[in-house]
């Protein structure tokens, strides 16, 4: 599959309650098309939920977010693009449940860690005009 012929799917999602599930429904269809395993499909959906919620919450913007799926023989690439004010991904602390329990610490903040654990590669590009998260899931050879 050459670069020119890679099929892609684009979603435009409003910042409304539970709209992240629109993205996971699309990901399920694409995973079936790519013959990904149930495990891979679940991991993609979970990462996508977290990425979409982060885009909703951290963009500090009411502008729609965009999700782009690019399909190749080897991998699925997903871009989650918000139009917020951007953020420094290096400034995100790795959460630890032992620290969160028994302390008055905020219990949330797991999204980026989950995305990194569930996907094969994760990259953030951020500026004052918004953030693009690019994540990939490689197709396992079975």
């Amino acid at each position: 599959m050459s670069n020119e012929t890679k099929p892609s799917v684009e979603l435009r999602i409003p910042i409304l309650k539970d709209m992240e599930l629109v993205a996971t429904n699309t990901a399920d269809v694409i995973a079936k098309y790519m013959q990904l395993s149930e495990e891979e499909s679940g991991e993609i959906s979970m990462a996508l939920i977290e990425a979409t919620i982060n885009a909703f919450e951290h963009s500090e913007s009411q502008k729609d977010i965009f999700i782009n799926f690019t399909i190749s023989d080897e991998e699925l690439t997903i871009k989650v693009i918000d139009q917020g004010k951007g953020f420094d991904s290096k400034g995100i602390q790795i959460p630890d449940i032992d620290s969160k329990l028994k302390k008055q610490e905020r219990k949330r903040g797991w999204g980026v860690m989950l995305i990194k654990e569930l996907m094969d590669s994760v990259d953030y590009e951020s500026s004052n005009d918004g953030t693009t998260l690019t994540m990939t899931k490689k197709k396992k050879n079975e």
């Binding site: 679940g42 991991e43 959906s45 449940i97 032992d98 219990k107």
Partner: protein, 111 residues
């Protein structure tokens, strides 16, 4: 729609069965049940996730609050019927270090 479909007491356990996306709303429903039952001196809970196949980290974070409440009372939270991706998510978060996990409700009740 996310909801609690049943809450019942079996042996020493309060069994809470959920349905749908385990998000913030469903997490808050669960913690409300736990807070109510703790007032009745019930400290051992089983969360049956058979009908909840998808979760987000906000819902999962509320379970950390549940664990915190129950730890103060020497109580326990057990989880059963977890979809593989939910089990993996809870494992990554470390939640499963603080919960007993079971394949079925019968196994959870027999612990």
């Amino acid at each position: 729609m996310s909801k609690i479909i049943n809450t019942e007491e079996q042996n020493k356990y309060v069994v809470v069965k959920t349905e749908g996306y385990f998000n913030k709303d469903l997490g808050e429903l669960v913690i409300s049940v736990v807070e109510e039952k703790v007032q009745e001196n019930k400290f051992h809970f089983i969360l049956d996730l058979e009908q909840s196949k998808i979760v987000n980290s906000i819902g999962a974070s509320i379970l950390i609050e549940v664990i915190e409440i129950l730890q103060d009372k020497d109580g326990t939270l057990s989880l059963c019927h977890m979809a593989p991706i939910i089990e993996k998510t809870f494992s990554i978060m470390g939640l499963t270090k603080y919960c007993n996990t079971f394949a079925t409700l019968d196994e959870a009740l027999a612990q």
